[in-house]
Subunit: 253 residues, 2 copies
């Protein structure tokens, strides 16, 4: 059994309900969005039009909870530690098993998460930040049908030398958001340091550091929420799906 299979097994049995952040290194971790088939075409097109925010790892066939390409032994209804259920665009509660909500027209979208390249950054001497920030921006994504909304970004602070290394490295990780979309000058993309979606508010960036911004997997979730989708299920923040895919393999397109 691989570490990925062990982790999913523990989640399926209900023994692992906590975050996956910095866990199970070496395997691609995914964000999850589950929608009904009637909205799947526009959502798939939204992902195609916004590939840096929505790097698709796999889209399942309607009603089939098995991600045959990225984790053939898994079941997406039970193998995440925690799910978030949305009703009419509002979070309606978390669950650790969504078998009761799965139906024959459910389609699961798996997006590569930047958690995947954090391990690679660490191997290059750029340790995981103590803080992770998520911000809204003033940049609009490209609309597809009912799906639209702002680009959401993650922010990492690092030294100027590390910023170059991190740009080089993440350029290769095209299935987990790729290169940064912006570097320095948060205000230029409408980032308000005092009002993050996730993380502690900041007054300013320390002189010795520079902020790097990557497109964030929260973007497609937000687009679905804003579009007024009746029913949607996602992973709970920080509680991702662990695939069988090798992180260092998916950076070789």
């Amino acid at each position: 059994m691989t570490e990925a299979e062990k982790a999913r097994s523990q989640m399926r049995e209900g023994h692992w309900t906590g975050p996956t952040v910095y866990k199970v290194p070496g395997f691609v971790q995914c964000n999850l969005v589950i929608l009904g088939k009637p909205n799947a075409y526009d959502f798939l097109l939204y992902c195609q039009r916004n590939p840096k925010a929505c790097p698709l790892i796999e889209v399942t066939d309607p009603g089939d909870p098995v991600p045959h390409l990225s984790a053939p032994g898994a079941d997406l209804r039970t193998d995440l530690p925690r799910y978030r259920v949305f009703e009419n665009g509002k979070a309606a509660g978390d669950m650790t098993d969504i078998r009761a909500l799965w139906n024959p027209d459910s389609v699961a979208f798996l997006f590569g998460s930047s958690l995947t390249f954090d391990h690679a950054l660490a191997r290059l001497g750029i340790p995981p930040s103590e803080d992770v920030w998520v911000f809204d921006t003033s940049l609009e994504t490209v609309r597809a049908g009912r799906f639209h909304g702002p680009l959401v970004v993650t922010m990492r602070l690092m030294s100027r030398q590390q910023a170059i290394t991190a740009t080089q490295l993440t350029t290769r990780y095209i299935y987990t958001h790729g290169a940064p979309i912006h570097i320095g000058a948060p205000g230029e993309i409408g980032v308000d340091l005092g009002h993050p979606l996730v993380g502690r508010p900041l007054e300013c960036i320390p002189e010795s550091q520079i902020p790097l911004f990557w497109a964030c997997g929260v973007t497609p979730q937000q687009a679905a929420v804003h579009s007024g989708i009746d029913h949607m299920i996602t992973h709970a923040p920080g509680h991702g799906f662990v695939t069988d895919l090798q992180a260092d393999r998916t950076c070789l397109p």
Copy 2:
């Protein structure tokens, strides 16, 4: 007016009906597939599942012939030099204007063509081959709904040193097929040198050269043909769509 705009204008006016191979350098060239909306979801999913063979540059909204993201001033019904019309899976003739066949549920899929990186290879001292080969392989693509079929590849012959350079370079061109899928040993992927789909039959590869194989944009066309689609329109082979996108820009994901 850019060279791309000039080229499209000539095609629209009917003054350019010939190939685009090695023409309009610097701009991304695309292969085209037009299908009806009822088949668009499965075809889009087929592309997502086979990204090296089907690198999507843009998918238009139903009935809208303007590729707003890759060439906002263009019209996909008139701005290719030559189209091929398929009826019930068979080529039914070529046209230079498809306005009469376009309808409110038509969806156009544009795929980055490897013609795009041929210019970049030339700048690195790897001149365009005198011959271009296209082969069927024994590799199967990943099915999506009714769409399935073999991976089709292009073959280029070069020196062993050039093969390394070409692999490095094309790795970056993820929207125009990316890195080779195979190098040397044609038989290992079921390539029969004596029976190319395009190009002159070969008995063997010269000792001083090595064959490199890239996933080919003929793959999604063949999948559509094999699936028994009633109506489909594509570009005529070698007669691509010239976008406004800078070739050297799309290699920076």
